[in-house]
Amino acid sequence: MPQWDLARSDVVLVMGSNMAENHPIAFRFAMQAKARGATLIHADPRFTRTSAMCDLYAPIRAGTDIAFLGGIIRHLLENDLWWRDWAIPYTNIATVIEEGYHGPETGDGLFSGWNAEERRYSSETWQYEGQTVPSPLAEAWMETGGDFAERVSSLRERPPARDETLQHPNCVYQIMRRHYARYTPEMVERITGCPRGVFLKVCDALARNSGPERTGAICYAVGWNHHTTGAQVIRAGAIVQSLLGNVGRPGAGLLALRGHTSIQGSTDIATLYDLMPGYLPQPHALRPHKTLADYLEVETAPTGWWANFPKYAVSLLRAWYGGEASEANGWGYDWMPRTVGDHSQLPSTVAMRDGVIKGLFVMGQNPVVGGSNSRLVQQGLARLEWMVVRDIAETDTATFWRDGTLVRDGEMRPEEIGTEVFLMPASLSGEKAGSFTNTHRLVQWHDKVVEAPGDSRSEHWFVYHLGRRLKAMHADGGRPEDAAIRNLRWDYPEVDDQGEPDAEAILREINGYRVADGALVSSFQDLKDDGSTACGTWIYTGVFPEEGKNLSRSRVPDGPNGPGTHLGWGFAWPANRRTLGNRASADPAGKPWSERKALIRWDEGAGEWTGPDVPDFQKEKRPDYVPDWSSRPKGMDAHSGAEPFIMLADGRAAVFAPSGLKDGPLPAHYEPIESPAANPLHPGNPASPAAKRWEQRSNPVGDAPDPAFPHALTTFRLTEHHSGGTPTRIVPTTAELQPEMFAEIPTELGRELGVRDLDWVVVSTPRGSIEARALVTDRLRPFAAEGSARPVHQIGLPWHFGWAGYATGDVANLLTAVVGDPNTGMHENKALACGLRPGRLFRANPPRTEGPN
């Protein structure tokens, strides 16, 4: 949903986010909603600047979000407060699941399909009755018995089995009722520590603002992601919204607040190792991806919009490879590198530590501050042969060999570290042209307004010229990798004396064009799988629909009396749609659920969907369209006119996810890997059994509650600093606002330990200890916790600090562990257990005190 659409919400729940501090510009729209009478709620382990602005604050112990959200789901189902008229047709709540399915409530925390030896699930029993459903995510293929493509093709034969009376014992509704039966308000209080009265007020506010006339939004950020159960926390939020009909409607949605200005863009254009631009799966050496034909066969969903996948994949290859690329060699498919496993940041860190990875580019990141288990990160960096750091200042990462933890603690001396560090100056956004894609998929162009100082260069410049040099190096070689580089299309016009490549030329390539004449394409519906079109990122098609028309430059707001979708402001992918799933803003017959919450509607006279937003639906598909199953319909033809979610194989919101998740089809509460509390729901499996583990000498992880680490620890960000701190700790006016590392501790713990404001404390986990000044505050609190005789105190640590710049202090991530979410590889830095004592640490080499040179 657009951030500005929050102004139309009747209730806003902020959870897993400190929105006012970390997304202050988006928060203005929550404040506008409040000014119009909306209820604002904040659920968080810490009372923050966001809580201060809300009507209701629900305190929860870090890492218990699913217990809280599961409690809401149970409350809605058991009290019949969910919106049946919306959810029955638009979600899979009535769909019948395979007989062999059982949930964690009968398996002591394990779903059916658990392979104890390999510690992973098979999702066969999670499927729709008699049908295998491909994931709507990038990777459609999954390990199943038999031929995958054949199995999923059953979706073309008949609609999934449904029981709209919801009586079938294995329909999703009944499964969910059994699954969440134990998530009572009492259980929510036992696990999360949130008083049940407060919890029920939250439930009530959400339920009250659901239905035809009202909508609610949930805003989350990395406070949900950074857990070994992160993907499932977000799923739980999505289920709540699906039950309340808060998808695709004005003022409704699950708003992922993303951090950096273009972190959305960096996922779209694929910085992740397993994705290619536009959420296409990276070919994998150990999957049936041998040839382009194999890859397209197993990754193409038979039904829904993803049936168009071959057009996007082939067009991407056409954008990337020229030279000898032809239909015969799969448009260069073989030149594309294959993944062989998990190459995300956590295992890459371990691989550096083990000497597998020899060289590293660090661009716009500060991993010794932001990476989990910073000591392990630094040990990894110390074993590299070379490291290139491109940044606007000398970062903590660039100086780890001189000022870092290993040196400070006497573990290594600078002369023992062989890593050759290249520090390359980078330009800031005003010093280069380019685009930002914000959290609402809104692409906004910015021009270069000033010259960057000295030798600072843009990322475009650096990558373009690096590529040119690589092409020169590999021009004559006979090895396969030489051909891969030689055949890359790499021709961008240079716009100035420094050789800066034309940023708009890159955007034109992202948009897509006809290979024959280079004419830009205006819609991804024009893309072909026959090699005649090239497209860098199919979802962005339309951002540059014709020469001279860069829609991301457009800045035309609707004005106070306009519809408020602002279609003339920038370009929102896909197809300039502002609200995804907006077909659901109308009822199955195509009529808005209410005029107050109208968005798009079926215009019978014109024979098309119309409204102030671009319909997220086939424009001319009648609401009463029903697939002709006798013709084995494919793609969108297999969706009825009342199934609103085109990217899903069955067109309905997946409150139960038959595939795509590696840790269960429904969110279940697991404690963090390191927790001070027991799990009363399934003591045999207190933490997520499927969580990723990388056991290491330098990464000890404490599995059971340990009296040495009795407190709950969470890490957080401050509005005054930006992530790894480089852009703010080097600027005096921001550095002075939060000048030093500190630890937030509850008043009760301060009293118990005799710790007062500004006293030094030492915080410890199995990975090590750091020291910080104490900020003793009523904003944090102790929680009663299962299996702990004493209350568990919530400790909070900001993680921005390091040794570079003016605002310095110990690195909070020296305490965190390399463990990950099984779906995403995301770390668990938001919830772990720690010890705390008054005092300071011994340091072999105390930190340098002078500022940067």
Binding site: T719, P732, P739
Partner: protein, 309 residues
């Protein structure tokens, strides 16, 4: 659809803004709907019920006015590490934690538009009349054509009379140049038709810039709206006839909406203009001097006597 999704300041199409090559003579009209003209009174309405404590105002102020960081270090006072207004800090966000002290009694429900963690962006009040200006013997402090109060450092002799005269502790002598410094309400920006930096940077419109009379009216409506929403403790501080505009201060051109007693935010409950009290003192002093001089004359020991030569 109510169309109110656009920011209230948004304009349907900004005339002359296509391509942005055209200079914008009255940018403030676009950013806050205010035309800046000499002869009117301009000021700030700081609504603390909207402040999220982001300190963007502090940073914008220091960046625009090229003020150095003081580097005071961690204060231990909540998230306030700036401490107070001073020669180098012309916006200061106060943080007041007000959560009750036991876990059971700690607030989970906030009265509408009032936080359990109060934040207020403090600034020079640009008082009318202005005690600092009245105390200034050199004329370095003057009232501008926008009814704001500005120090001219090239005239200031560093006597510091303005420092104790200010009832709010705003003015300070810089240890750098020995002159008085304080908020100018971005005098240079006003001359260029631009909204002051802090107000423009404020993401939640807690700081609103405009013509004082209009701001006072808007603030009055805001108090009523808050009352209607159940926040009955909201009141104005510094608007004519309200606390803050007391003891000879007719109004503060930078005034506030508060929900707690002024002292909670570090503001004086009843600030006073020293001049009325200073006048009898000065007159008495002058009378005493005159009396002594007369006596000296009579006794023949005054400077007028030339006997020694």
């Amino acid at each position: 659809m109510d169309g109110g999704l656009a920011h209230p300041r948004a304009v349907p199409s900004a005339p002359g803004m296509d391509g942005v090559e055209v200079p914008v003579p009255q940018e403030a009209e676009l950013t806050c709907g205010t035309r800046i003209e000499p002869g009117k009174s301009y000021g700030f309405f700081t609504d603390t019920t909207l402040c999220i404590g982001c300190k963007a105002c502090e940073v914008a102020c220091k960046e625009w006015n090229a003020l150095p960081a003081d580097a005071v270090g961690l204060t231990g006072h909540s998230y306030d590490n700036t401490g107070a207004l001073g020669a180098n800090t012309w916006r200061h966000v106060a943080f007041v934690e007000r959560l009750p002290g036991t876990p059971e009694a700690r607030g989970t429900e906030m009265p509408p538009f009032q936080s359990n963690w109060l934040m207020m962006s403090d600034v020079c009040k640009h008082c009318d009349p202005a005690p600092c200006l009245e105390a200034c013997p050199t004329g370095a402090l003057f009232r501008t054509e926008f009814d704001t109060v500005v120090v001219q450092q090239d005239i200031c002799n560093g006597c510091a009379y303005c420092v104790p005269a200010c009832p709010f502790g705003v003015v300070e002598i810089s240890t750098g140049d020995g002159k008085a410094h304080k908020c100018t309400l971005c005098y240079d920006r006003l001359k260029g038709g631009m909204e002051p930096a802090c107000a423009k940077a404020c993401p939640t419109d807690s700081i609103q810039f405009g013509v004082v009379e209009e701001l006072v009216e808007r603030a009055g409506r805001r108090v009523e709206a808050l009352e209607a929403a159940g926040q009955e403790r909201a009141y104005l501080y510094g608007a004519p006839g309200t606390p803050g505009a007391t003891n000879g201060l007719e109004r503060l051109n930078a005034f506030f909406l508060l929900t707690e007693r002024p002292e909670v935010y570090g503001l004086p409950a009843a600030p006073a203009r020293p001049a009325p009290r200073a006048r009898p003192g000065i007159l008495a002093g002058l009378a005493a001097v005159a009396g002594l001089a007369a006596a000296a004359l009579v006794l023949g020991v005054g400077g007028g006597g030339g006997g020694r030569r």
